[in-house]
Symmetry: C2
Subunit: 332 residues, 2 copies
């Protein structure tokens, strides 16, 4: 048996074998119960999130759907200021999906969870008939604890605040795009899929009261995320194109493909809007962390309104809006 069968999703013997042989050992699940019981050591605020992953292809330079599913959900918790603790993983497998690919994804999930320091506590496996899915889709939901004193909100944004980005943009989208279309870049563009909770918790330990809000610019890219923040805060944001970290290979790939890197998806960076006078100090701290080496101040909050403006490297200014339609479908 080397492929997924419909019976693997039946709830019966085949499913038990699949879980027992492949899933439970990798995740170190304590039991096969539908619900896990966990202890929360204090009362207070919990963050809850969910994300489904349908990236195509499932393997790409720098990552795969497995680590993406962990990192993406960990990051969604981390950017609201939470310490990610427990994740659930739900698979929708297509009949005929190679079990060897499934094993590879399971291992990625397990490694990514260990790196991020989170526990997978519950799972679910469904199988759909051939032609009604696409190999594997993964849903990852998670909860985390929001420490006392951490309260991020776009409503805290004030005129004068600085906009910080934690790393270079466009890597994930271009990595997936290149794999999907068989492009080879030299050096190859790798996805930035990684868990940001470590870096973020270091920041919040020292700078919690100076950080107004954080977001990870995934689907829709940096432009869409900034526009969301502008709309939610009612403030205008001005960013400077020449300060935005962007690798030459990604810039080249974007030119070749006719893409604006501001709209290309990221999976390992975040945007923070912070109190102006602390921005430099924060960048200093971030640069000392392996995932913040490329961090930079890329702009500031300039007034009331809800617009995002880009000062281009040749000196012009243009309005930045959300991604209008689809640019890169199934990028995460």
């Amino acid at each position: 048996m080397d492929r997924i069968l419909l019976g693997h999703g039946s709830g019966g013997k085949l499913m038990h074998e699949l879980i027992k042989k492949y899933i439970a050992p990798v995740f170190e699940l304590p039991s096969l119960m539908d619900s896990a019981i966990v202890s929360i050591s204090h009362s207070g605020k919990l963050a809850i999130t969910t994300d489904s992953y349908t990236v195509s292809p499932i393997f790409f330079p720098g990552g795969d759907i497995g680590d993406l599913a962990i990192n993406g959900t960990v990051n969604d918790l981390a950017v609201v200021g939470a310490i990610p603790l427990y994740l659930t993983v739900g698979f929708i497998l297509e009949e005929g999906f190679p079990i060897s690919d499934f094993e590879r994804v399971l291992n990625s999930i397990s490694n990514a969870a260990k790196k991020a320091g989170v526990k997978i506590v519950a799972g679910d496996t469904k199988v759909v008939d051939k032609g009604k899915g696409d190999g594997i889709f993964i849903n990852t939901s998670g909860i985390g604890i929001v420490p006392e004193g951490v309260e991020l909100s776009p409503l805290k944004i004030e005129v004068g605040d600085k906009v910080i980005i934690s790393g270079s943009i466009g890597n994930h989208g271009i990595a997936v795009m290149s794999e999907r279309n068989g492009f080879v870049f030299e050096p190859p563009v790798l996805s930035d899929s990684r868990a940001l909770n470590g870096l973020i918790s270091e920041i919040l330990k020292e700078f919690a009261c100076y950080v107004k809000v954080m977001r990870d610019p995934t689907r829709g890219g940096v432009a869409t995320t900034l526009k969301e923040l502008a709309l939610e805060s009612g403030k205008d944001i001005l960013i400077y194109e020449n300060t935005i970290p962007l690798h030459d290979t990604v810039r080249g790939a974007c030119e070749l493909l006719g893409l604006d890197p501001l709209y290309v998806a990221n999976e390992g960076i975040f945007i923070a809007i912070v109190k102006s006078h602390m921005a430099e100090k924060l960048i200093e701290l971030m640069k000392s962390h392996p995932f913040g080496k490329e961090s930079a101040i890329i702009g500031e909050v300039t007034g009331e309104g809800g617009k995002v403006l880009l000062k281009t490297s040749i000196g012009g200014t243009r309005i930045v809006d959300m991604l209008p339609g689809e640019q890169l479908p199934r990028i995460c």
Copy 2:
């Protein structure tokens, strides 16, 4: 615009419009943030669960994929003794899926959540290209609080304990099956899709220390669930066929289709293993609740081993095992 487009999953403008116009109002989501922040009023034990729903067809007599996705996840929390509180909902939509169908499902989700008394706090929408999905898949994850003093476990099962079922079996599976194959039964068989947390909390309020374990016999049916409990507890379970509540129409449909009702999926009943001398009192309480009217004692724990035995209505005894392969794929 009356169908789902790839751009609805892009993270950009189209997705924001879809969420703002259709999803947020129905779920009364406070914000469109990726993670929700909720308060937990006490420290202690949390139950966490996840389930993906791929039922086909998505509309069937007595329910649809929307209420199923809420009730199934609520029930997974309830049967471990938790009070379900917060759910997340993740959609994987296929390009071309009619928005009117999506609206119908969203309304079902909203109504089911209200009935069950749970809040939907976070969501996610992905779109896959036509032919790479099947209309709509839903993942529902959830958390609940386990009250002090509630600790259910198959390890508490003792010889002499009684096996209780809360309602008649096979309704959901036959309802979906009949819709899928265009069978019409008279009277129609309706899915039993419903939230059991109300009934279960009443039981646990009075009988928490007499209930050893509960499970909802969904995929794989009553037979698979009992076999799981037998294996996990290492005990033998004997059930009596003629005590198992089964509607005549379901019995007839099973005979017609060559199905054993013990393996047909349920979405609105649970099995409880309880201290023998409290079983009758428990049934009395359950019968006073609309979802427990058909409850019955169907068997007992007879010894060490891990087997499930069925005393048939004609007096024979046979071994009951888990569902061997697939019987009814995509039943939930």
